[in-house]
Amino acid sequence: MTTLEEVQTRVHVPLVQPRLPRQAPAVVGVIAVAFGALLLVLGLGIVGAVILGAVAYLIALPVWSLVIEGRRGATDRLMTGLIWTSFGIAVVPLVSLIWRVVSKGAGRIDGTFLSYSFFKTQIDQPVGVYHAIIGTLLVTLGAAIISVPVGVMAAIYLIEYGKGNKLAKAITFLVDVMTGIPSIVAGLFAFALFTLIFGPAYVSGVGGSVALSLLMIPIVVRATEEMLMLVPDDLREASYALGTPKWKTIVRIVLPTALGGILTGITLATSRVIGETAPLLLIAGATDRTNMNVFDGAMTTLPVLIYGQNLRGDAPAEAIAWGAAFILIVIVMVLNLAARIVGKIFAPKKG
């Protein structure tokens, strides 16, 4: 039996529920910041003040909400707060790193820094990182020339031909393992390979390229695989139905459709390896001169130069290291922007 009151309460379900004012998070936020500032004045460190301020916000707003809005509202406020906090934690190191590199490095950049190498023909000649910029570009270009065909074709095999057979599964597994090999191991591999072929004490830029390509190939394979999987089977079938052989379908239909994404993946893989230090120390060596020949003699890259300057530790060397770090970040940023533009240009068009 249901009583009359029960029926009435069920019939009238209120849709309007008490809510905190719209400015509530902002108000609590201001109070939390003030609380943090107070702690700072009282002598707590900046890190402690920020953490306690955040904790105060994460406690105060849900509690206030619990009183007025009830459980669901309080949970919502708490989770929203946690997500924003995590976002802050993720962004802070990034921003601080870029800020530091720009503020310390940008000032060192000038014409001489970009156009002179470390090699001095006169005692008062200025130094620059030209040789390392050239080294970085050539070694990375070499790595890309090796990795892109191998990686893209491996991905084509895995998606278009292998589809789930044992060999494809084994390759996929090995590619995953390769993604995780430490870069120093890649360097040792290249070192051992070139020592076996050319004898001991061999250093060259191409050795560095081989080491980097070992790190780059699995990323290229993975990215290309993902993009090829996104190409709808409808398009492959449409092409087959026109009497197009499989290889032509792949080259003329599947690859162009996925091209934007593949290029983005390749660029990201390049940015990933451009900052490698350890393998290049082993096989590409370091030099003060500008070396344009990747097949002969040591080549310095920007990360190796930064490492070397940091080891010296005096003030001019440190300034050079910051400047080189700044250039490296600019190169990576330009690569990423180029990838986005190229991806936009090649993306399938609508309308």
Partner: protein, 259 residues
């Protein structure tokens, strides 16, 4: 140019699973043949086996004979690519190539397979195919725009233009109107009427009125029971099929009393 298809004792498998069993029929040249039947009864599977698209799916295979122009499509040594050049196909969902313009979409089959051609010849083929697909007047001003920018019905007619540009003998259509609105559907049905002078057309449809409107012959596919393979219940001229079918289950299906 149109050719007839003789089908005898065809069984179609996915791996060990028998999907369609014991199909016998003769598809007349220069006529429209419709396949109807409930979902999962194997009519699309059978249609795909007519140009060897079926075997794109790993493990799929066909037993029996499908003879076009005196040649068995499934004889050893027959190149599926050569078969598909003779037997074109239009799919359920419009699938123009997203990287290509309208112009390039129409020419895709020829460009991919026949190599280079003169600009004037290419222009002629594009115009002829688009006129053939009743799309020319709508797109002639914007041939270099992407094919994906057209409406669904226009995209489907673009796909038909693409299929007829390679001048196949037979055109297969797998529910070509099921993703389209009534106006586009009507445009495509009119088109089918015009195309049947030049091509043998086989169409799968879920829409019985459509089968009655466009086809000369109709095949009714059904499952014997759930989990059993699909089979051809009845194959007759459409007029007889819809007025006085031989099989009681056909009548039940057509009149909506199915079960």
């Amino acid at each position: 140019m149109a050719k007839s298809i003789d089908v005898s004792d065809v069984n179609i498998y996915y791996g060990d699973f028998l999907a369609v069993e014991g199909v016998n029929m003769t598809i007349r040249a220069g006529a429209v043949t419709a396949f109807i039947g409930p979902s999962g009864c194997g009519k699309s599977t059978f249609l795909r086996s007519l140009n060897r698209m079926h075997e794109v799916i790993p493990g799929a295979r066909v037993e029996g004979k499908i003879v076009v122009d005196g040649q068995d499509l499934y004889e050893p040594g027959v190149d599926p690519v050569a078969v598909r050049r003779q037997v074109g196909m239009v799919f359920q969902r419009p699938n123009p190539f997203p990287t290509m313009s309208i112009y390039d979409n129409v020419l895709a089959g020829l460009r991919l397979n026949a190599g280079k051609m003169k600009k004037s010849a290419a222009d002629d083929i594009v115009e002829k195919s688009l006129r053939g697909a009743n799309l020319w007047n709508e797109v002639k001003e914007r041939l270099n725009k992407p094919g994906m920018g057209l409406s669904g019905g226009q995209q489907q007619r673009l796909c038909i233009a693409r299929a007829i540009a390679v001048e196949p003998q037979i055109l297969l259509m797998d529910e070509p109107c099921s993703a389209l609105d009534p106006i586009s559907t009507s445009a495509i049905e009119d088109l089918i009427h015009e195309l049947k002078d030049e091509f043998t057309i086989v169409i799968v449809t879920h829409n019985m009125q459509q089968a009655a409107r466009v086809s000369d012959d109709t095949g009714f596919f059904n499952l014997k029971a759930t989990g059993e393979p699909g089979h051809l219940v009845e194959f007759n001229p459409t007029k007889k099929m819809f007025a006085n079918p031989d099989d009681p289950s056909t009548e039940a299906y057509i009149s909506g009393r199915f079960g």
